[in-house]
């Protein structure tokens, strides 16, 4: 069990295009992160945000350009992957095609432990039972389904009883149903074993569902590390607010005129209690589930209605901005209908129009004043 500290981690790559002036791509830019012993932390962000590179630096597959990575206080920057006591699950599983499931799972132990082959067999069998693949031990990876391969890959990592699990988008090749199943299974497994786990994904739903804490990255920069609910309610900036939540938060450019916010498509809102300083423009955010639809109103022309069964997503345009509201299944306007929109003042997010920094995030302790527009 391992506690991991990352200080000022920087990773740059030489640009493949040599004509580039400085010839460098900064994949990870000055990341600081403390990961507690036994914690399940998720690194999440769009592709190219540096999450996988960070993971590879922790694994020892890539060398950090600058900064320190410590396992239990000890700097591991220069130690090889095999000496770090970590196990990794790859997106494409990376099973050895010429070995049986048993061979795949026992390979690491054979190479790096002093266990006898009887002990290795016992460990492999035990791990296979945990993963429910004990019937497949003599099969080759090519004979297995995607879900089974995934279980073998997980089994291969737990059999070594490492101090850290690293998982690089392990579920992204599975279909939706299996993905949801494996999600809970990995969580249960991590709970049982209590091994520090770093999990990389681009899927914010997966991140929210699985992580004890979530680190949101963008452009190689760590945006925010927090528990899922805090990320959702109190994002530090517009990027985090936009990235977390599905469907995404509605964002509108609004002009500030005293206490009145004016936006596209004739949108106005009298705000109370929010400090926007001397800004003349801000970005207003409102979560889809905080938008109430009034079928008698006429602010929004409905373009699409997605009926999910238990709820409906109602899409329409305010000026050039697309708006989505998440409503009860009983609210079911037809495309082309006009509906009214309303939301409570405390559901409001405000962001600086230039930097995207949060000025105001969702609060619960403000009185519930309904605002009409």
């Amino acid at each position: 069990m391992t506690k991991i500290s990352i200080n000022n981690l920087v990773k740059t790559f030489e640009a493949s295009d040599q004509r580039d002036a400085d010839g460098e791509i900064v994949a990870v830019d000055d990341i600081d992160l403390e990961i507690a012993d036994g914690e399940f932390i998720v690194l999440v962000g769009p592709s190219g945000c540096g999450k996988s590179t960070t993971l590879r630096c922790i694994a020892g597959l890539d060398n950090a350009t600058q900064g320190e990575i410590r396992f239990d206080g000890e700097i591991v920057n220069d130690s090889r992957p095999r000496d770090r006591d970590v196990a990794m699950v790859f997106q494409n599983y990376a099973l050895y095609p010429h070995m049986t499931v048993e061979g795949n799972m026992g390979f690491g132990l054979k190479l790096s432990s002093t266990l006898s082959s009887a002990e290795i067999d016992a460990r492999v069998t035990e791990a296979a039972e945990t993963m429910g693949i004990d019937g497949l031990l003599t099969k080759k990876p090519g004979e297995l389904s995607g879900g089974q391969q995934q279980r073998v890959a997980l089994g291969r990592s737990i059999v070594r009883e490492p101090g850290v699990f690293l998982m690089d988008e392990p579920l992204s090749n599975l279909d939706a149903k299996l993905r949801a199943e494996m999600r809970t299974e990995i969580q249960a497994l991590q709970n049982d074993l209590g091994v520090t786990t770093i999990y990389v994904t681009h899927d914010q739903t997966e991140a929210m569902a699985m992580g004890d804490r979530i680190a949101v990255l963008d452009g190689g920069v760590l945006q925010q590390v927090d528990v899922p609910e805090q990320l959702y309610r109190n994002p530090v900036n517009e990027f985090v607010a936009d990235f977390i939540g599905s469907p995404s938060i509605n964002l509108l450019d609004v002009a500030v005129d005293g206490k009145r916010l004016t936006g596209p498509g004739g949108f106005t809102h009298e705000y109370t209690g929010h400090e926007v300083g001397d800004r003349s423009r801000v970005r207003l955010g409102i979560r889809p589930e905080d938008l109430a639809i009034d079928e008698r109103g006429d602010e929004l022309t409905v373009s699409v209605v997605e009926k999910m069964g238990n709820e409906n997503f109602i899409y329409g345009h305010l000026g050039d901005r697309e708006i989505v509201a998440r409503t009860d299944a009983s609210v079911r306007p037809d495309p082309g209908d006009t509906v009214g929109l309303s939301f409570t003042n405390e559901a409001l997010y405000l962001f600086d129009a230039q930097s995207g920094r949060s000025l105001e995030t969702k609060t619960d302790n403000v009185s519930a004043t309904q605002t009409q527009f």
Partner: protein, 283 residues
């Protein structure tokens, strides 16, 4: 609808007919070689001279083989042993060198990698004939002239083989090697325990290429080897080299020269088809 099917059937028939024709065109000379090796010399000459070649085997096979063995000037059967020994050792050694070099070129980054690789490829431009003299000086200075090693070593790192293995090894997913690194494999173990086993079919194909290359090598063995170490191609020219060509002996020698090559191909052939990488990773 019916017409379409009919046209398709005719085209298919014509296609297969064409393929069959080409196959026969390729196989008939080999078949005639097999037939002729069973005929006495007079019948061979008669068959070759008059219109259609004879296509029914005769009964003179063993006599021809005995006559070949009885030749005082060339020990052809010894040359088969020489050729097999040289080709087998060469193939084994060259497989090791080519796969190692190919692995390094495909999966590692190092300084001057591209120029080095281009340099290796560039050596293909130089014909063997041009190399014979300097190579002979080199080999005889080392003291290897008239030894098996003189034929085995010069092309042990065969440029085509290195190129072939590099291309094949590039298909090994990086994550497979990384997984092995995480499992604690050393760099040599990556090559030996992960890369090589997944490359079985490529190695088999390369083995055929290398074996064939060495089996057919003529000029260099002719220069560097003496009588008792002759390989098959050299020995065959000795059979032809006398004032009178013994066609019966020559043809049985040609048949015997094909057999080992044929066996090698049969043994390794099933590996070509087998995609051993299937199921390694999900793309």
């Amino acid at each position: 609808m019916h017409d379409e099917l009919e046209t398709e059937a005719i085209w298919r028939f014509a296609g297969y007919g064409f393929l069959l024709l080409v196959t026969m065109f390729m196989l008939i000379p080999i078949y005639w070689l097999l037939v002729a090796s069973t005929l006495p010399e007079s019948a061979i000459i008669a068959s070759a001279g008059s219109g259609l070649p004879r296509l029914i085997p005769g009964t003179h096979l063993l006599e021809n083989a005995r006559a070949l063995a009885a030749r005082p000037d060339v020990d052809f059967y010894l040359s088969i042993l020489n050729s097999v020994l040289i080709a087998v050792v060469y193939t084994g050694l060259a497989l090791i060198f080519c796969s190692m070099a190919g692995f390094a070129f495909a999966k590692y980054d190092f300084r001057f990698k591209e120029p080095l690789f281009l340099g290796i490829l560039a050596t293909l431009i130089i014909p063997i004939n041009l190399l014979v003299v300097p190579l002979f000086l080199l080999v005889s200075n080392i003291g290897l002239a008239n030894s098996y090693w003189a034929v085995i070593l010069p092309w042990a790192a065969y440029p085509i083989g290195i190129f072939f293995m590099r291309q094949s090894m590039q298909s090994i997913p990086d994550s497979l090697l990384e997984a092995a690194r995480m499992d604690g494999a050393s760099e040599f173990q990556l090559y030996y325990r992960v890369a090589l086993p997944t490359m079985k079919s490529s190695m088999a194909a390369l083995a055929v290429i290398l074996f064939l290359f060495q089996w057919n090598l003529f000029l260099w063995p002719l220069v560097v080897l003496q009588q008792e170490k002759f390989t098959i191609p050299v020995a065959i020219t000795k059979i032809m080299g006398q004032e009178q060509i013994a066609y019966d002996q020559l043809l049985i020698a040609a048949v015997l020269a094909i057999v080992p090559m044929f066996v090698v191909f049969l043994v390794l052939q099933r590996h070509f088809v087998r995609g051993i990488l299937a199921g390694a990773v999900k793309e």
